[in-house]
């Protein structure tokens, strides 16, 4: 469908201009990333000023809390694993020109499946098998949740933004229904699933509070990057994303690729939900919804769909979230401010992309 302009531009950008233009291209690609981030922080700061808060104090506190204290840094690394897995899912979809915006529903359903299966299986299966079974089951359920939007897009060209969002709202409510009707732990008054004992969760790394899920997430992001750039399947997806009509002419089965990609994207996001439960919470409470799905979108754009680059941006964004969480309590700026920053980042990214595009046209690249 439409809206794949970004994808196409990325491919143009990656080829770049050879020769003596090289140095300038490097500067340009640094600017493309640095300028939107700076502008978003500055405009966000102005908004804070208008609301009567000191932006320097806020950003300083967030940076200290999220990156410069050992406790905060561990939380930041822990937060990276769901974000990275969502990013991996989005990279697969976006590279193929598919707007999977249903991440929240996919993530939550996967989380509930894990929270339901984990405590039930842990007495029956060995610990390692339980963890693996949870991840696989969650990935399958999340993947299935994307099948209807995938088929509607592949067969009838129905805009997947709308359908995946609808499935997301549906999934969020359905996750609550599952908890309240089927998986409610009878020993709790507030509806929540049974809890996976701490010793049966994903092992921690050394003496830290960081769980090993972050390693899984890093491995998945790298694998996804290699798949998209080094395999025939990945190349086919890129062709579909850059120009679906050309892909049909090249003899690719676009409908099948669309369905496969959409499902894979959702499954990866589902692994994110599963790992968050296996590593951090061990249970899902009704009405819990971290709503990470849309927040990761600008990170993936900033990284220009590059798996390695997304790792760095995710680190900074995790720090922002962790710092922002405690700033809400300490400085009295609600966590919702992060939403504003994300929005500003997206807008300035698009503006800089546009200016860069104009510049390329001028120099005839």
């Amino acid at each position: 469908m439409r809206g794949t302009g970004m994808t196409a531009e990325v491919h143009v950008a990656q080829r770049g201009a050879p020769g003596h233009e090289g140095g300038r291209e490097i500067v340009a690609s640094v600017l493309r990333v640095a300028v939107p981030i700076l502008l978003a922080l500055v405009v966000g700061g102005i908004i804070l000023l208008i609301l009567g808060k000191d932006p320097i104090a806020y950003y300083g506190y967030v940076a200290r809390r999220g990156l410069l204290t050992w406790g905060g840094l561990q939380e930041t690394f822990t937060r990276m694993s769901p974000l990275l897995l969502i990013a991996a899912g989005l990279i697969v979809a976006f590279r193929a020109g598919i707007w999977n915006l249903g991440g929240d529903g996919q993530f939550l359903l996967a989380a509930v499946i894990t929270a339901a299966l984990g405590p039930a299986l842990v007495g029956v299966l060995p610990k390692a098998l339980t963890l693996i079974a949870c991840v696989i089951a969650s990935a399958i359920v999340a993947g299935l949740w994307a099948v209807i939007p995938a088929i509607l897009k592949a067969r009838y060209g129905i805009n997947e933004i709308i359908t995946s969002l609808m499935m997301s709202f549906l999934g969020i409510s359905f996750a609550n229904v599952l908890i309240k009707l089927f998986f409610w732990d009878p020993s709790t008054t507030v509806p929540q699933t049974r809890t996976l004992p701490v010793e049966d969760r994903l092992p921690r790394l050394f003496d830290t509070t960081i769980h090993s899920g972050v390693l899984i997430a890093l491995a998945v992001v790298v694998l996804v990057h290699l798949m998209m750039t080094r395999t025939a399947f990945g190349l086919k997806l890129q062709v579909v994303g850059a120009n679906p009509a050309a892909a049909v002419h090249a003899g690719l089965n676009v409908a099948w690729l669309t369905i496969a990609t959409f499902t894979l994207s959702a499954a990866l996001i589902g692994i994110g939900g599963s790992v968050e439960i296996l590593g951090v919470f061990g249970t899902v409470r009704a009405d819990w919804n971290p709503a990470f799905g849309l927040l990761v979108v600008p990170l993936v754009f900033l990284a220009r769909f590059n798996g390695y680059a997304v790792i760095g941006f995710t680190l900074f964004f995790s720090a922002l979230m962790i710092g922002g969480d405690s700033a809400a309590r300490r400085i009295g700026v609600p966590q919702h401010f992060v939403l504003v920053l994300v929005a500003l980042l997206l807008i300035f990214l698009a503006v800089v992309e546009y200016l860069d595009h104009q510049r390329r046209k001028r120099i005839g690249a």
Binding site: R2, G3, G5, M6, I47, L51, G52, W99, L101, I148, L152, R155, Y156, I158, N159, I161, I162, T163, L165, M166, M167, F169, L170, S173, F174, N176, V177, K180, L181, A286, L294, L295, V297, F301, V333, P334, H336, F337, V338, L339, V340, L341, V342, A343, L344, L346, I347, L349, A350, V351, E353, Y354
Partner: protein, 311 residues
């Protein structure tokens, strides 16, 4: 189960359906104007939410509901002007900007609400009601359909007016040309940018009024994130209506009923989690899309910026 069938229950269900359906109708009609002109307005959720906030604040401080609706419309149009500047004038990616607007307004209104009211949620008085003469005396239907806030009737009049505008006026023709063949409109000497800008501003105004209705009449208060996907349902309504305003009205009525069931079933004492009922409208959207998938039609130039001389 008998409780489901008595008169009072039916009246309150239908009354609730109208209250829940009107914001969807306004958003759907607004989105239809944008889509006709070739703009996929994903940011409509943000426009509604901002309209809900500005509309509520205006009504809260002035005590005037009319002022609240105007402020809601202006709030929505203000957000829309960002889309006009970035997407229509400069041709930035409409989807990226749309997502940004929705996220940004969610955050911004939550912040503004927090700094204005802290953690309190002040209520407005009961919204004024016009009971239509004679019609409102019909049993059940009269109370349910014909004694509402004037905006409800205005929304229906607007729907009829749009039928006429799309079918019989130059404005309608220009909008359609901007979505189907922008180059032809340009060649005819009409500015594509201006036509689309007008369409998007109209969308912003209408969805802003819809948001204000949601806050001031529907809920009587503002809660952060209160639109909860209504804007996206508006997009679906516009998609399925294939450019026909009447279908937007029918769709909005359908979704209004399924939204009203949420409260009605609880009042009726049916003991199921509210989440089950909250799934209804979205399940309905998916069902309708699956059944009518073949029939949803969007203009060929939808979502594409118009650059003179390109393509």
């Amino acid at each position: 189960m008998e409780a489901l069938l008595n008169q009072a229950f039916l009246t309150s269900l239908l009354f609730g359906a109208v209250t829940a359906g009107v914001p969807l109708l306004l958003a759907g009609l607004g989105e239809q104007i944008s889509e006709k002109a070739g703009v996929l307005n994903i940011g409509i959720e943000g426009m509604m939410l901002f309209g809900a906030y500005t509309g509520f604040v205006a009504a809260y401080y002035s005590g005037s509901f009319s002022l609240g609706f105007v402020a809601g419309g202006i709030g929505g149009a203000l957000v829309a002007s960002l889309v006009v500047l970035l997407c229509i004038r400069y041709g930035l990616n409409q989807i990226v900007i749309g997502i940004a607007i929705t996220l940004g307004i969610e955050g911004l209104t939550a912040l503004l609400h927090y700094f204005q009211f802290s953690r309190t949620y002040p209520r407005l008085d009961q919204a004024p009601v016009w009971a239509l003469p004679f019609l409102s005396d019909i049993p059940v239907l009269g109370r349910a359909l014909f004694s509402h806030n004037p905006i409800v009737y205005l929304a229906v009049v607007l729907m009829i007016a749009l039928v006429w505008v799309f079918r019989a006026t130059y404005v309608g023709l220009n909008l359609e040309a901007a979505g189907n063949k922008p180059a032809a409109l340009d060649a005819a000497g009409v500015s594509v940018v201006k036509t689309r800008a007008f369409a998007v501003l109209a969308t912003g105004f209408l969805s802003g009024v819809g948001g204000a209705y949601m806050a001031n009449v529907g809920a009587g208060l503002f809660v952060p994130f209160m639109t909860g996907g209504a804007g996206f349902i508006g997009i679906v309504l516009a998609m399925l209506a294939r450019g026909k305003p009447v279908w937007v009205l029918l769709g909005a009525a359908l979704f209004g009923i399924s939204l009203a069931m949420t409260t009605a079933l609880q009042v009726g004492g049916i003991n199921i989690p509210t989440d089950v009922v909250q799934m209804l409208p979205f399940a309905m959207v998916m069902l309708v899309l699956v059944i009518f998938a073949r029939h949803s039609v969007l203009p060929p130039a939808l979502g594409l910026p118009y650059v003179r001389g390109e393509r």
